[in-house]
Symmetry: C2
Subunit: 384 residues, 2 copies
């Protein structure tokens, strides 16, 4: 699968820079060859941000990005001015090879935090990646950004004569790197930067932003969207946003499915809410309940723990009149005992929870994983 190099106008590479102790590929480069260089980016909302995020936020401001360089094997977070210089040097080296400005190079890093990356190894990796750039390099790039991911995550969505490609790594429960999520999405559609920004914010709001694997927010999260315009086709903003949301949701669910230490992928949908914000708040509160998540690990259709989480929110509802279904069985009716919970099977990985607030017409889904022994093991046995 070619992922980010599926749309026309992109080249990519994935090489071994020697940052990962495993000796696997650890440096990826994605280059937009034009003719347009429109871009949009979203970054972690965490106020403690890694050096590559601090750099890339500046790069992103003018809506022009020509390349994204990503390394695994070190997050370059809490590494101070020397770490920032490493990020800067990485962008400069990419720019030299491509004969562009460093201010058009987004840098992403993932891996251990609080440790300096080996700058010489990183720069040598950039040299190798620049030499390896290829119109079919998307797959190699997707492999080079993996940390504890067990599979590479890529997506292709076809428009009419144009397409979207993407790659992602991470998601919550990925020990020990604070669950860094890095995503690069490419398109050959003609979309001006301002519209790309609108589309990306709309698409991430209903996809990555609703992935709440363990409630912990990374210092490095980045989603970078590049548009080459190489198809010559300008879809409507509405159509482009819809296809982009499809691509983002596909990648988000791939992250959920590969979250380490998780036995279950759980979709929590709140229906009949007074507003979408209410629906998100309720679904997210359930997604963050350790007691609920441990119950799902134990294959226990524990609706009481769901109601207790719903009760902590400020959403509009009558506490005495809530319904809850698990895998389609309405185990709670009117805030009391409903259908027999023994009818619920939790043997499969995928689990659905539906909370009916009976307060309106809005709905929203938040995705999470269960809380397992493996999660505790992986996040306690490794330093980071």
């Amino acid at each position: 699968m070619s992922g980010v190099t599926h749309p026309k106008g992109f080249r990519a590479a994935g090489v071994t820079a020697g940052l990962k102790s495993s000796g696997g590929k650890d440096l990826a480069l994605v280059v937009n060859t034009g003719p347009r260089f429109d871009a949009a980016n979203v970054f972690t909302a965490n106020r403690c941000q890694a050096n590559p995020v601090l750099w890339s936020k500046e790069v992103a401001k003018d809506g022009v990005v020509r390349a994204v360089v990503l390394n695994s094997g070190g997050a370059n977070c809490y590494t101070g001015p020397e770490g920032f210089q490493t990020t800067h040097a990485t962008a400069e080296r990419v720019a030299e090879h491509l004969a562009i400005g460093a201010g058009d190079v987004v840098v992403c890093s993932t891996g251990l935090i609080g440790l300096l990356n080996d700058r010489a190894a990183l720069l040598a990796g950039v040299d190798a990646a620049a030499a390896a750039l290829d119109a079919d390099g998307g797959d190699a790039a997707a492999h080079a950004i993996m940390t504890t991911d067990t599979v590479a995550k890529q997506v292709v969505v076809e428009g009419g004569g144009w397409s979207i490609g993407g790659m992602a790594k991470g998601a919550g429960m990925l020990a020990p790197a604070l669950a860094t999520m890095l995503v690069v999405i490419t398109t050959d559609a003609v979309v001006p930067a301002a519209d790309l920004d609108k589309a990306l914010r709309a698409a991430t709001r209903v996809s990555f932003d609703r992935l709440d694997s363990d409630g912990c927010m990374s210092t490095n999260d980045t989603v970078s969207l590049l548009a080459s315009g190489a198809s010559g086709i300008a879809p409507s903003l509405e159509e482009f946003t819809a296809r982009l949301a499809d691509a983002c949701t596909d990648l988000a669910l791939q992250l959920l499915a590969d979250a380490e230490g998780a036995d279950h992928s759980i979709a929590i949908t709140t229906v009949h809410a007074a507003s979408e914000d209410d629906a998100v708040e309720v679904s997210r509160s359930v997604a963050r309940s350790n007691l609920f998540k441990a119950a799902i690990f134990g294959k226990d259709a524990n609706w009481g723990r769901i109601l207790a989480s719903v009760g902590t929110t400020g959403a509009a509802f009558d506490p005495a009149d809530l319904d809850v279904a698990i895998n389609g069985v309405w185990v709670c009716r009117n805030s009391g005992i409903g259908e027999d919970r023994d009818l619920v099977s939790l043997e499969e990985r995928d689990v659905t929870v539906t909370v009916d607030l009976k307060a309106g017409e809005a709905s929203a889904t938040v995705w999470t994983n269960d809380l397992t022994h493996a999660y505790v093991h992986e996040n306690s046995a490794y330093s980071s």
Copy 2:
């Protein structure tokens, strides 16, 4: 230890009603024999509240409570109108025995949720408890409210010629009953109900409200404070509040020390905050980070996970200038690597984390536990 019967003017009992499958004591009764019957209560902020909470909130409104009846072995939550009738019948039975009004009887329940309590067994238990009431019955009562607690929690604080006594059960990580916390506190000081209310809110704000064992909020939490006035002494509100805060903090730390599945008791103190609210928000965000809590279980002095949690808050600070100490070792200075983390020993149960925001003069402590295999086991292996 006599706990709630240490102050003059109280009798108590703890008996076996047969609600607990273990056959242990499961029904407690605490009676104020006067001459005054001032009372104050605080209840869970969860909007999904158990039947005894719905009942007791009404009882508490007039500032007069003459008895508190508590059962373990069943939370009477999500049990609908029939469950409410069981609570009502329990209060009526207590009132009959004491020749008082049912409207002066607080009812508390703890145990499994979503199951009806055996009303006949409960009422027979009330009969037995009324017959067993004793001026030294505090210890029996404290044992009767235990669920998965391994030790009874009691406290006595002496004033000048008056005293405070208390008992508590629960705290987060107490599977599988949603961590219900029940607390009864007695005093023979002369304190009008309005002042009791002020004192109780001030004391719980800095004690029970800052115990955040696993971030899950129970449907049954109740703290009930009864004042008999039997000492004839009226301390100043300031003095009474200070002693009450001592008693509440003592009980809170006993709950923390007995939290099931926990290897560590962690005190997270934020210093030099711009406001107390900021300090609480920062400490609480760290207390709720599963990644941080799993690291402490793994004896890993992981300051990066602490900073990442601090970064999710809205508190005033410079993200590039934070200091963090674990057990007194400043492992993070100016948001970068500080003293050698290998200097931190996490072998002992008690752990202190200090976050220095360098933004003001306020401080606050939130207490939590680590995230362990035992926590996952206990909250996944039992239904509730």
